[in-house]
Symmetry: C2
DNA sequence: GGTAATCGATAAATCGATTTTTCGCAGTTG
DNA sequence: CAACTGCGAAAAATCGATTTATCGATTACC
């Protein structure tokens, strides 16, 4: 009864011999095949129960071309967005009897491809890929070249080989524009990451189009950092410095991605500006902390659950042999206007300055 | 050249026949065995190159008892802490040629055991388990009963069957006590989650011991929610209401876990209290946003990388047959005292009230 | 020169399932 | 009574590697 060795687990043959049938019969019973005598089926169930037998998924997968494994590749695991995404995907895979193997590409396209190649080695049934850059990266190319089935999510718009699912960021951005214009903002800075060309463009265009539609002479400045987040800090600093020389400053900032929101807040801190008195702020992507800070930060909430659910639906449809041209799906976002957005010039400190 | 079907990948036999040798020889060459004629080895390498052959990890694992798979079970994926942890673990596993399969127990002990059982089905070589509650949960019991090798991290202190690695939260809490006492705080509220008994106790005791040592008549109140975070909101609300009736209020709050810090901030908002003027705040567990808000939130930073590295080192030592009694490792934290901590009574609004 | 040891490589067993093929037996039919 | 049909289950092939046992040819030793 004391500490036992790691006794080797019982295999299907152990069950077979205990039930007095062949391994093939055990396999059939467990697969729910009905052409087995009820009496034998019962004996199998008893043996399974007694031995605590469980199918070895690895051995089980050996003989199928498509294994019961889904690969998920995310740019990173540290943010709430991708954390929730992996969590959702894992649950959905599990529901269908699949195992999810998640890997982080660490925001590197090179690594993304390596990780994907490893998934291919595992002969996964399908892949959910959230590309680092966009749908035209090397990983998607690899998937095409090797006939893998997969679905692209998040930083994608549409693709001619794979289904895509992403947040409708253009619509959300238009909504943000409507809100900011409605509050009276006529000079707005948009910050983003140039790397994610397509997504950034969609968000930017959606914002700009709606803003110009509402107020044709609205001024929209854009500060983009190519691929890294850090340079954005310097770019933003310069932007405000130059503006200060000319005595002009935007009354609102719209950040197209989460880290940008942090950079903006950090820059505001440095200059002693407060939201929304000195400047307004809206960020794409929500986070739990944004509602407890003072001010609470306005944000676009991405529909993580819906994206995950759609992605898995579409993916399994393909795995099960569904064909037809790939579709691009857009899931609607919610825009939460919190305290960080106000009307320009209405705050007590609209001139900026040093509030301690 | 156009879109090809998912042609079946070449197996070791394809390589063998192309190189004009047997599959066994190919296997040996790839495993680095030296008793192969250099000429044949070269032919194998050429064939591998030409066919783009890669070992199928699943088939490769079939014949060994311990498979090249490491399981990681985390309470959740949404927080920075566990996100970073999974990311680190994945990298470390990969470095050793292992695949990491991560799963979330969703803060449920029942699910934790199910997930672990599934890992066992996969016959993983080892498991990194961050238990929902502590080292005495059902999952750890399951691991013992089945002779699995594993390491417990985060919400654990020590165990008689498994190695453990966690942050030295007692020392960090003592450090927090020193800081708060040093700033003049004599009435401090500590909030936490009762579920994680051992960890909470360590943090609480470490804090209380140091505080009492420095100032014997310091007042330390404690508000614990049993297992859920939501009740803490109500408990905290009541606590402050009751204090207000008696005209007393702590000058600082120390939250023993991340969500508690959010709940505290949320409660402060509601009452119109500002940090650090009206009340000081320190939280266990750091997050990226804490340094960009105003005020920046003081926090205990857990050494995620070190914990992950230690956990993997210890785990692989066991996998490679190392024995001896299990060890409990503690990794030192860093305490970042940011603006949310000040001296009591020094702020312009120390009477509390409604600042808008 | 004959037996033994050595070397390199191959055939075969193995891992634990699934799937296809074969087989025995009972009941029907011509 | 021989041939046929069906059913349920066992035997065997398969998946793609690793590992053990075996084998033939060469070298070594007495």
């Amino acid at each position: 009864m004391a500490h036992r060795q790691a006794q080797r687990r019982s295999s299907i043959h152990d069950v077979a011999s205990r039930a007095g049938v062949s391994a093939a019969t055990v396999s059939k019973v467990l697969a729910g095949v009905t052409t087995v005598k009820p009496e034998n089926a019962q004996r199998v169930f008893d043996a399974v129960e007694h031995l605590g037998y469980r199918v070895d998924p690895l051995a089980s997968d050996m003989r199928r071309a498509k294994r019961r494994i889904i690969g998920a590749i995310m740019p990173e695991f540290e943010s709430e967005f991708f954390g929730q995404m992996v969590s959702e995907l894992e649950g959905l895979a599990e529901q269908r009897g699949y195992t999810l193997v998640a890997a982080s590409s660490r925001e590197s396209e090179a690594r993304e491809k390596e990780v994907l190649a490893r998934m291919h080695d595992w002969r996964v049934a399908g892949v959910v890929l959230a590309p680092v850059r966009n749908e035209h990266g090397p990983a998607a190319g690899f998937m095409k070249a090797n006939g893998m089935t997969g679905v692209l999510i998040d930083r994608v718009l549409a693709d001619d080989a794979f289904d895509t699912v992403s947040a409708d960021s253009a619509a959300a951005s238009a909504e943000v524009a409507r809100e900011l214009i409605g509050k009276g903002h006529r000079h707005i800075l948009v910050i983003g990451l140039g790397q994610q060309a397509a997504t950034v463009r969609a968000r930017l265009d959606g914002f700009r189009a709606k803003a110009l539609e509402l107020v044709p002479d609205v001024r929209i400045d854009v500060v983009l950092s190519e691929s890294e987040v850090e340079p954005l800090r310097a770019l933003l600093h310069d932007y405000f410095d130059k503006g200060a020389k000319r005595g002009e400053r935007p009354t609102a900032v719209y950040s197209l991605f989460l880290k940008g929101t942090l950079v903006a807040l950090s820059e505001f801190r440095r200059r002693g500006w407060h939201c929304p008195d000195d400047i307004s702020l809206v960020g794409f992507d929500d986070a739990e902390w944004m509602q407890v800070t003072w001010p609470a930060i306005a944000a676009v909430v991405q529909p993580v659950r819906q994206i995950a659910a759609q992605a898995m639906d579409v993916l399994f449809a393909r795995i099960d042999g569904g064909d037809g041209p790939p579709k691009a799906r857009l899931e609607p976002c919610k825009v939460l206007m919190r305290e960080s957005v106000g009307s320009p010039g209405s705050g007590p400190h609209s001139g900026g300055g040093n509030r301690q």
